[in-house]
Amino acid sequence: MAQLTVPREKTGWQRVLPRHWTRYLYPAPLMIILAALIIFPIAYAIRYSFYDYYLTRGIMRFIGLKNYADAFRDEVFRQAAWVNIRIIVVSLIAEFTLGLLLALACYSIKRGRAVIVALLTVPIMISTSATGMAFRMIMLPEYGPLNYIIGKLLGRDWVAIDWFGDRNWAIWSLVIASVWHAMPFVMLILLAGLVAINQELYEAAKIDGAGSWRLFRDISLPLLKGPLFVAFLLRLIELIKMFDLVYLLTQGGPARVTETMSFYVYYVGLRFFRVGYGVTLSLFLLVLTFALAFALMQITRRREAVA
């Protein structure tokens, strides 16, 4: 027999609080911390983006959307975006090609893999500043070993590549240092992905007569999509924000040929103290990064749904 339940009458605090108030209470501390650490600074930044604010001169005028209009028209920012795009495309291709090859090579090693992997990941353990200093030495035009090695490979004593001063080469100095520093990270993620693949899948495919290429194409690669996506997303975000190597190696020079968006934002906001405009540019960067990450996730989800 069904029992009829009669709601109990609310008493005291229960009248004021929402019905399932604990749902809001438990995550509240986290939400407060999030608001303090993330939402408040962004909201503060959005506010300043509507002002012409020179920190050192005490100038603070409301100018509405002018900073945004200026950012769209800013040729230097566009040029910096183009620098980022070139670095991103070349670096990602290099990092993922080399990272995948090295991950496959390490995966195929049965004895001593841990030692080799540990050695290959040394660049990640080195700070970016140390990497920058090391590459400044390695790429010295006259005394750097890189020009010497390239020279020897070309059958000459030395080649006179001005890695930091020549406008055609300077961007390559950033790409090389960045790939060297980040590629082991990609390798490590892909290697972890490879190790996680169930061996029985390979064995079954081998029984069916699959060769190495088929094993890679039809088993490894599809199952590496997840790790590849994670690594791609993280590296993309890092490369959009690229600042430290630029600061250490070229200072954005010569002229502005290696000036990335982040470096330009640093100059505008923290060298020239045009805080309002600098904040606007950094909001652009934030939106761009968020949009790219979101788009990538959507694409991946759709593909997974179709599959």
Partner: protein, 513 residues
């Protein structure tokens, strides 16, 4: 031993840090000649200083935070022991990279605070720093101090240290650009004959910028020091962050340029600016690889290692290139005025004075009196001289009394001609030199122009295009900061330059290359 000898020995001992200031005073007294030594050896003000020393200074028992940059802690270390004993003051040094000092200080000042009791900064930043510094003049009067600024050369009494009528900073380093050359390159008969045969002219230290280019072209790729290796023609520093601008400035001023006209229209893209940049572009093939990313040390080292026969550089190079630990050309270095432009029968020279360093006391310091007294202690003429003579201090003279030829002869007793040349070049350069632009937002004006000059040097733009773009951006900066206010500040500097005979002279650039 004569009083003069006693004086020389004592000064040498102080300079070499074999004798600290207190012992110097004691020893001077012991020979019964303290006052006469001080009065005779150094300017009369020093005698008064000696008397002032007799009254016990206040003891503060604090540690002062000093923002000295990477370059200048040695200045303060020279007398740190005495300061500790006299005032009970210790020092803690923060050695930020020079290019980051402005940014760090400004961020703190904007929030109404400072981590430092004494800050070092470039005089060009004075418009931005001055509102945050104590008035040293007023406090000197209150505390009965004497900074002896009447002994300072004009430019250091005015634009380097004074803002809107207030004395807010003291000079630490009188930076200036000089011309250095390798005597082997210029004096060896084989080079002289070859140069005569190639150009029809006598080989000499370049007097004009056209000669500078011609000599660089001649030496480049030639084994001019006969060590079996070909060398480069010249070296400059063009690293992003101001260097390309610094090395362009002396050429620009020599061709009759100044920063703006009286209505604040930029003159950097005038014929003077374009000509200066064309000169700079014409040596691109004669400099060592990597010059586009050379800062000050790389350019100096290329010269001191014998890779290039000439360099325009700061006066610290005069001392360092005579030091066997840092230089391979100790016996062959020569110094001259930075080249200029033919102006009738004379050479019109306007060397740049980049950048200079001064020190001030932030209003937000909790040890203002101690900091002001310490600065005054270091500003006594004999200390200024000792600091200028100490190669480790990286500090160039700015007092008249610091150009005492005998003190500099003692610096290089084996090469008195060089010592005399150094003093003479320094004095003339400070007399004719043009200080940095000194208006609010100076850093932005300079960095924008620097990037455009760099674009021309790397072949991305023509000289005219690069400077037109820089001038357009200068106008934008002026508008953003407020044209009327900027014009007010520029007019101050414009009038100060005019009073020293520095005016726009378009006719000097009309000759063509």
């Amino acid at each position: 031993m004569s009083q003069r000898q006693i004086r020389d020995d004592l000064i040498r001992a102080v300079r070499d840090k074999r004798l600290d200031r207190r012992r110097f005073m004691k020893r001077a007294a012991a020979v019964g000649a303290s006052s006469s030594v001080l009065a005779g050896a150094l300017p009369g003000r020093l005698g008064r200083f000696a008397a002032a020393q007799e009254s016990a200074p206040p003891k503060f028992n604090v540690t002062l935070q000093l923002s000295t940059g990477e370059t200048y802690p040695e200045v303060f270390k020279m007398y740190a022991d005495e300061v500790k004993e006299l005032y009970g003051v210790d020092f803690e040094y923060t050695m930020t990279a020079p290019q980051d000092m402005y940014q760090k200080d400004m961020l703190e000042f904007a929030g109404g605070s400072s981590s430092y009791d004494i800050v070092l900064f470039q005089p060009a930043w004075l418009p931005d720093y001055a509102p945050h510094l104590v008035d040293l003049g007023a406090l000197a009067e209150e505390y009965g101090l004497n900074f002896h600024m009447d002994d300072a050369l004009d430019v250091f009494r005015t634009s380097y240290t004074t803002w809107e009528g207030n004395f807010v900073a003291v000079p630490i380093d009188a930076d200036q650009h000089n011309f250095y050359y390798n005597k082997i390159a210029f004096e060896d008969p084989r080079n002289q004959e070859a140069y005569k045969a190639e150009t029809g002219n006598d080989l000499r230290v370049p007097e004009t910028w056209d000669e500078y280019v011609q000599v660089a072209a001649f030496f480049n790729g030639r084994d001019w020091d006969f060590d079996g290796e070909p060398e480069y023609g010249v070296v400059e520093a063009w690293q992003r962050g101001g260097y390309a601008w610094y090395w362009w400035q002396s050429k620009f001023f020599s061709y009759g340029g100044i920063y703006f006209d009286e209505e604040m229209n930029p003159l950097i893209n005038s014929p003077a600016g374009v000509k200066a940049l064309e000169i700079q572009m014409s040596i691109v093939d004669y400099v060592p690889p990597g010059t586009a990313n050379f800062g000050s040390p790389e350019a100096r080292n290329a010269f001191m290692n014998g890779e290039a026969p000439m360099v325009v550089h700061w006066t610290s190079t005069a001392k360092l290139s005579k030091n066997p630990e840092s230089s391979q050309i100790v016996d062959s270095v020569g110094i001259a005025m930075v080249p200029g432009v033919q102006d009738g029968d004379t050479i019109y020279r306007r060397p740049a004075l980049p950048t200079g360093w001064v020190a001030g006391v932030p209003k937000y310091s909790s040890n203002i009196e101690a900091a002001v007294r310490i600065l005054e202690y270091y500003m006594q003429p004999e200390r200024s001289l000792a600091i200028a003579l100490n190669p480790a201090a990286w500090s160039e003279p700015w007092r008249r009394s610091s150009f005492d030829p005998e003190a500099w002869l003692n610096q290089w007793p084996d090469d008195p001609d060089y010592a005399r040349a150094v003093v003479s070049v320094m004095e003339e350069t400070l007399d004719k030199g043009v200080p940095d632009l000194q208006i609010p937002g100076q850093d932005e004006y300079v960095k924008v122009a620097d990037a455009e000059i760099s674009a021309a040097l790397t072949g991305a733009k023509s000289a005219q295009q690069a400077l037109d773009d820089a001038a357009a951006e200068w106008n934008n900066i002026t508008e953003r900061l407020g044209r009327d206010l900027q014009l007010t500040y520029w007019t101050q500097q414009f009038e100060a330059l005019k009073s020293r005979g520095i005016v726009y002279r378009p006719e000097l650039a009309e000759g063509g290359m």
